[in-house]
């Protein structure tokens, strides 16, 4: 190099020859954590990832990311109790992101625009075949993911139409059937073979399926009501909630009652309570051992109802009795005239586990002419007796694989420990992944879930408090058996709501690291940043000050020690 001696001047930008990276004892790295919404989603949706695309206003791409986990956003956006929103870090800051509204918006947009489901891996002619029992959410999800992963699925369904509980028991006020039809039609059009009116144990049998297909996935749901009585008593006209709900969905029939006691605290309880209230019952009481959502209730003790459904039910006049149980039925002969309730709470016992404890002296009586148990259902063992044994439910591993059964998997409500559409979807997806791994690649499925990131790891200075988007709802007096109660968000609302996302644990592409680096050692590039971020660290110059890590709003940058 020519020496610049006269006047000892220097040429522009020549400091690049001096690699300040040697000063570093720690280096920043990108660390992609699981956003809590992602960690909380039973279907495995990464809401953070697809909301990022909403922020970029690339709606189809957002939907494509969404349906890489869940093929039915228009459905789940309506019926899911959205644990993602409970997980959302924004909830500890102002209000959680209205993820279900965004999901529904994308699902509806996809239907309206007829966006094609991406199929990353087309099945070969010789592809392994999978028989799927049950066309409920888990069966459909399993079939859909089989298609995506290059397997050939066939669904066997006892009923004439697909949909399972979505069709038979979810009120139209929550899930309009044209939405369900549209979504399922598009999924089935991907090439899923569908055999309706094929009932296991009657029209087909499991052993033959296992012989004819390379694998079988059981998603039969829970079709059998559990035994129910209070202190041994059962009214003569007893009908359970799911049965009543199915009848109402099927032909609109409801029992003619004045004072109703519903026993149980799930979505079925709330759905039937609201149906009966709308059909003229004077009083509808919902008695549940769980508590209402609120600061005084432990998270594991909150009743399992979609929060907005609870809100709407109360609006409509359903009387809630949380932390209560039925102690005795008051009968006149076989006819119910009232129930005796008692207060209780879930408390730690001597062993440390929690158990429900009734409080003596809190007994009181409710007049009632009907009591409707909504305490859940069990698997109808018909045709699966040998694999089910004597149990109410299947107990497979997390991938749905049944112990001791080669290429036989199960999931969805039939597991007994799930209970939501999203969980059923998630089971179907995981089963398909496990099958594809084994049948195509002959390996174990990979599943190392990322750790979720908590709010303390975010830098909240870079966000402003805001109000959660609220979808329009029908006024109570306009609600009918058919009209959907909750409406859609406007695009402007969707856009604003997307902007609120913290992008927990993932790159927000906000430029903070790029902007704040005093050393020009963060370079902005989409091409080279293979980790999905928009930036690379230039370790030739990074001095390891850690400013970028501190000021990353999303906790996406971690400082790690330089190798010694």
């Amino acid at each position: 190099m020519v020496t610049l001696t006269r006047g000892t001047y220097a040429l522009s930008g020549t400091s690049l020859a001096f690699k300040t990276g040697t000063w570093r004892v720690e280096r920043p790295v990108h660390k992609h954590w699981a956003a809590p919404c992602h960690a909380a989603c039973p279907a495995g949706e990464d809401a953070q990832a697809w909301i990022a695309k909403v922020q970029e206003k690339k709606l189809q791409q957002a939907w494509e990311i969404l349906v890489s986990a869940n093929p039915m956003p228009a459905v789940t956006g309506r019926v899911c109790p959205h644990p993602c929103e409970q997980g959302c870090n924004r909830g500890s800051y102002d209000q959680p992101i209205a993820i279900h509204n965004l999901e529904r918006f994308l699902g509806d947009e996809a239907i309206r625009n007829n966006w094609a489901y991406p199929v990353p891996k087309k099945a070969k002619a010789s592809a392994p075949t999978v028989a799927i029992v049950g066309a409920g959410p888990t069966g459909i999800s399993a079939a859909y993911h089989c298609i995506r992963l290059g397997l050939k699925p066939t669904i066997f369904e006892a009923l004439p139409e697909a949909g399972g509980l979505l069709r038979s028991a979810i009120p139209m006020t929550r899930l309009p059937r044209d939405v369900l039809d549209a979504e399922l039609e598009r999924i089935f059009a991907l090439g899923i073979e569908f055999k309706p009116r094929h009932r296991l144990g009657r029209d087909i049998n499991l052993e033959e399926l296992r012989q004819d297909y390379d694998a079988v996935y059981l998603g039969p749901g829970c079709q059998r009501s559990k035994e129910w009585s209070v202190a041994g008593a059962v009214p003569g006209d007893l009908a359970d909630g799911l049965h009543l709900l199915k009848e109402w969905v099927d032909h609109g029939g409801v029992p003619n009652t004045k004072k109703v006691v519903i026993h149980g605290g799930g979505n079925t309880a709330m759905d039937i309570a609201r149906v009966l209230k709308r059909h003229g019952a004077e009083e509808v009481h919902l008695v549940t051992a769980s508590g209402l959502p609120g600061p005084d209730t432990a998270p594991d003790d909150i009743l399992n109802v979609v929060p907005r459904e609870l809100e709407e039910g109360v609006e409509e006049g359903v009387i809630m009795h949380p932390h209560a149980n039925l102690k005795r039925l008051l009968m006149r002969g076989s006819k119910l005239v009232g129930v005796e309730m008692v207060s209780l709470k879930k408390l730690p016992t001597a062993s440390g586990r929690k158990a429900r404890v009734s409080f003596e002296g809190t007994e009181r009586v409710l007049d009632a002419d009907i009591v409707i148990p909504c305490i859940g259902e069990a698997v109808d063992p018909e045709g699966m007796e040998r694999v089910l044994g004597g149990s109410n439910y299947f107990r497979p591993d997390d991938w749905g694989r049944l112990s001791g059964q080669d290429n036989l998997l199960a999931g969805g409500d039939a597991r007994g420990d799930r209970g939501t559409v999203s969980a059923a979807v998630g089971d179907g997806r995981k089963a398909a992944i496990a099958l594809a791994a084994k049948l195509i690649d002959g390996v174990e499925p990979e599943g190392a879930p990322r750790q979720p990131i908590d709010i303390a790891s975010l830098n909240l200075n870079y966000f402003q408090k805001g109000t959660r988007a609220k979808a329009p709802t029908l006024p109570v007096e306009e609600r009918t058996d058919h009209a959907e109660i909750e409406g859609s968000l406007e695009w402007s609302q969707v856009s604003a709501e997307g902007e609120r996302c913290f992008s927990c644990g993932n790159c927000l592409a906000c430029d903070n690291c790029w902007t704040y680096c005093p050393d020009n050692a963060v370079l902005k590039t989409a091409d080279v940043a293979v980790d999905g971020s928009h930036y690379v660290f230039d370790y030739d110059f990074c001095k390891g000050c850690g400013l970028c890590a501190t000021e990353c709003p999303c906790g996406y940058i971690e400082m790690i020690g330089e190798p010694e």
């Binding site: 220097a10 400091s15 922020q55 902005k524």
Partner: protein, 353 residues
Amino acid sequence: MNAKHADRLAELRAKFDRPPSWKDDPKEDKERQTIRERQPRFRGLEAGHRACQGCGEALAARLVTEAAGPDVILTNATGCLEVFTTPWPQSAWRVPWMHSLFENSAAIASGVEAAMKAQGKSTKVIAMGGDGGTFDIGFQALSGMLERDHDVLYVCYDNEAYMNTGIQRSGSTPHAAMTTTSPPGKERMGKRHLKKDLLSIIAAHHIPYAASASVAYPRDVTRKVRRALSIEGPTFLLIHCPCPLGWGHDGARTIEVARLAVQTGLFPLVELERGAITGVMPIRDQKPITDYLGLQNRFRHLFAKNDHRAEEEREHLQAIADYNIAIYGLAADGDDPLDSEGADTVHRCAIVP
């Protein structure tokens, strides 16, 4: 020009031993260079400078040059910035830059600007200095530059002490702060005097634009730089930039410290035109000054147990913060996208080079 002169000019130019640009050096890593060169912002201050880890001044200077763009000439007072950017034969600057002395940045800038005028050029001139070179030793030259109406933006990187010489108090050091020449002890609680209200003195020159800014709000910094450069005549920008070494905080917390200076009211962000306040950054949620002081070793003695003076000085600084808020009307009247909470709000940015 006659032929003899042309020859003579050629001869003189030949003496100018400018080597080929570093870009032509085949040893450079082409791949990395490409990304670096494709950055969608003007790189006025390049990597490879020798600032401390987490240096607020380096960041501020980077932001200023980014906002100013290439058609600019910089002058620089002696100080950290000058030393860490230009150890011969290297320079981190990508714009013409000149350093002469500690106290004459404004004066050499006046000369550069006069030359631009004489040559009919429109290149903007930015004079730069630290607080020592601006509040104290270079103040006379600065005042003269402002009075003579030179078309120069003067940027003061305010890190509140003489850092280049090892943290001695300056006219800008805040009250009660510890420096090596204002140490706390039995008879003293750090600096006895107040931080000089430079901006008011600058404003009294009735220049078209003067403002304060902070590295914690980079968009505000660049906006103010562009605003100042769009004005013909002398303009002034005071940028608060923490010094991890001198203030005693981790380099990773530079922005956090700077932000708290604003949010407590200790460093008000204001804009003055012809001496009148025309804009302030409102403070949405005023933070207690202890949040700010507690992060920095230079205020460590203000948290001494069983020392009544510590509490008194804390209250004193809180009173100064409250006074600033009252005097400049900093208390927010409802949420404002450009207030102390809103001005640094991030969004997904889809600009990809």
